[in-house]
């Protein structure tokens, strides 16, 4: 069979991305344009306007970098959810238009599945337990019987969201997590904060509220250190429980917060205790990107998964464990 090229479009939140992969797992290009709000968090409408204005140039550059023409693309994969409605609609509109124009299949991809699949591709780990942590998601998952099952997740806000909002409250600019970690290096005394693990799940909203309330009367270095230790410690605990429960041979850390060095160190220690291999997705594939959508799209295309343009609805709350992953059977 001759080589296939799949284009992937990502636009679930602040990043508009376009990536192109080949059927043998090469990432030929991976372009992204990130919307950075002037103040505060993501404004969905502004983010979608950013995506609309950058889409054309990003896609053109991705094709250029890959050295391909549009006519050489075999399929267009689109991240249909979960994510912010206006952002998803912009990406979906672009992907539908390209698929119709080049008369090639449109492939629906779940954003969370894509974070897992790009991690599996990059680390060559076939069946890991997955910790997927980002600004929008905190999920501990493993494959079983046709789907990625959720063994633990946040009951409210995501880990990255908790850290980003706290960083902004301290006046740190985007991206907040590395600055927060640098600040925490100078932390000396531990300030008690709510450590909330419920069964296999975590809850970060109470932790964020309490840490924010404590800003006025505490040294920001101590507070940052304490917040990170509690937030990462909670995740480490549910990861450790899922490792013990599923007995998977390895752990894959993926998603935007996978770049955190402190979190990597903690989870590596957890793996050592359970004799599991530890892998982190490479930094350039950690955050939202088009290549992960393209690669997952290729895996789905092989199994004949595609969607007619007229029913390619976006799914803002599309759960990871609702998605069939026939390529893993």
């Amino acid at each position: 069979m001759s080589k296939l090229y799949v284009m992937g479009i990502e636009s679930t939140a602040h990043t508009f991305g376009c990536g192109i992969v080949s059927s043998n797992g090469e990432i030929l290009s991976n372009l992204r344009s990130e919307y950075v709000p002037a103040a505060g968090g993501i404004h969905p409408r502004e983010a979608s306007q950013h995506h609309a204005s950058k889409a054309s140039a990003t896609i053109r550059q991705a094709l250029n970098d890959a050295g391909l023409g549009l006519d050489e693309i075999s399929a267009v994969a689109i991240s249909l959810g979960p994510g912010l409605g206006p952002c998803l609609r912009t990406g979906a509109t672009v992907a539908r238009a390209i698929a119709l124009m080049i008369k090639k299949p449109l492939i629906p991809v779940n954003h969370c599945v894509a974070h897992i699949e790009i991690g599996r591709l990059a680390t060559k780990e076939d069946d890991p337990l997955v910790a997927y942590v980002s600004g929008g998601n905190t999920i501990v998952s493993a494959y079983s019987d046709g789907r990625y099952r959720v063994f633990g997740e946040t009951l409210d806000i995501a880990l990255g969201n908790c850290l980003d909002v706290f960083a902004r409250s301290l006046g740190l600019s985007h991206p907040g997590v590395p600055k927060l970690e640098a600040l925490a290096e100078g932390g000396k005394s531990f300030i008690p904060l709510p450590y909330v693990v419920k069964g296999q799940d975590v809850s970060y909203s109470g932790l964020l509220t309490m840490a924010t309330r404590k800003i006025p009367e505490n040294d920001p270095r101590d507070l940052s250190m304490s917040l990170l230790e509690v937030a990462y410690g909670m995740l480490a605990e549910v990861v450790e429980r899922a490792l013990a429960h599923t007995e998977k041979p390895s752990l894959l850390l993926t998603g935007g917060v996978a770049r955190s060095h402190r979190l990597q160190r903690i989870l590596r220690a957890v793996c050592e205790e359970h004799s599991a291999r530890f892998h982190v997705v490479p930094p350039d594939l950690a955050g939202d990107n088009g290549a992960m959508i393209a690669w997952t799209g290729y895996l789905a295309l092989k199994e004949g998964v595609c969607v007619p343009v007229e029913s390619s609805y976006i799914r803002q709350r599309w759960r990871l464990d609702e998605v069939e992953v026939p390529w893993r059977r």
Partner: protein, 213 residues
């Protein structure tokens, strides 16, 4: 002290089999986590150990089979309790026919009902934390539990069990959950409706459930 043999190294604790004062016992030791801040680590291990010892005894008084607590050492985060010989429910489920599955989960439902009615939530209702010994079902691992009559805590308790069923026993999860609810309702009666309404609310509140918000 008698010879100790490691029976299980869990995520949080080590379990040793031993003879204590002539009784067949289990020593549960919550182990230090070097990856955790030492202050946080000490706090988590001691509060959970103390809570677990209390809840094990109180649950027993409510008519829920649990190990008997023999001795508590907070400084080392250790509990010595009676040994329950039997397989964890998780290992037995695959060999169960539908009738005994329904009956077992109905029994679990009634035990959880007794806890909730008596002001306790378990906090970690998974099939690894249930031991079958003849026709008794023992609940263990109360370290994430709490003293509360709160609707929210009860809802979370049941939500977590439903989720655990879906991830570990997805092929029977709906059926088992129905059995659970029938047993729970047998104890909690009218209150069940409110709890179940809260369970659904918690589920919708979670990240990305379609038909929510």
């Amino acid at each position: 002290m008698e010879k100790m043999t490691l029976i299980k190294k869990g995520a949080e604790a080590e379990l040793y089999h031993m003879i204590w004062m002539g009784r067949e016992s289990v020593l549960k030791r919550r182990i230090k986590k070097l990856y955790r801040n030492p202050d946080l680590d000490l706090y988590i291990r001691t509060t959970r150990t103390s809570l677990e010892a209390k809840l094990l005894s109180e649950a027993r008084r409510l008519g829920v089979p649990t190990p008997i607590v023999y001795s508590l050492d907070l400084k080392n985060a250790e509990i010595i309790m009676s040994f329950i010989s039997g397989p964890p429910l998780k290992k037995v489920i695959p060999n169960m026919d539908r009738k005994s599955l329904f009956e077992t989960f109905s029994l679990i439902g009634s035990l959880v009902g007794k806890l909730h009615k008596g002001g306790i939530v378990h906090g970690d209702l998974t099939t690894s934390n249930m031991i079958l010994k003849e026709d008794l079902l023992f609940l263990i691992d109360f370290g994430l539990g709490d003293h509360t009559f709160d609707l929210e805590a009860r809802g979370v308790d049941i939500h977590l069990m439903r989720r655990a069923l879906e991830s570990s026993h997805h092929e029977i999860s709906k059926f088992a959950y129905d059995g659970f609810i029938s047993g729970y309702e047998g104890i909690m009666g009218e209150e069940t409706k409110d709890v179940l309404r809260r369970v659904n609310e918690i589920r919708r509140r979670g990240r990305y459930v379609e038909g929510g918000r």
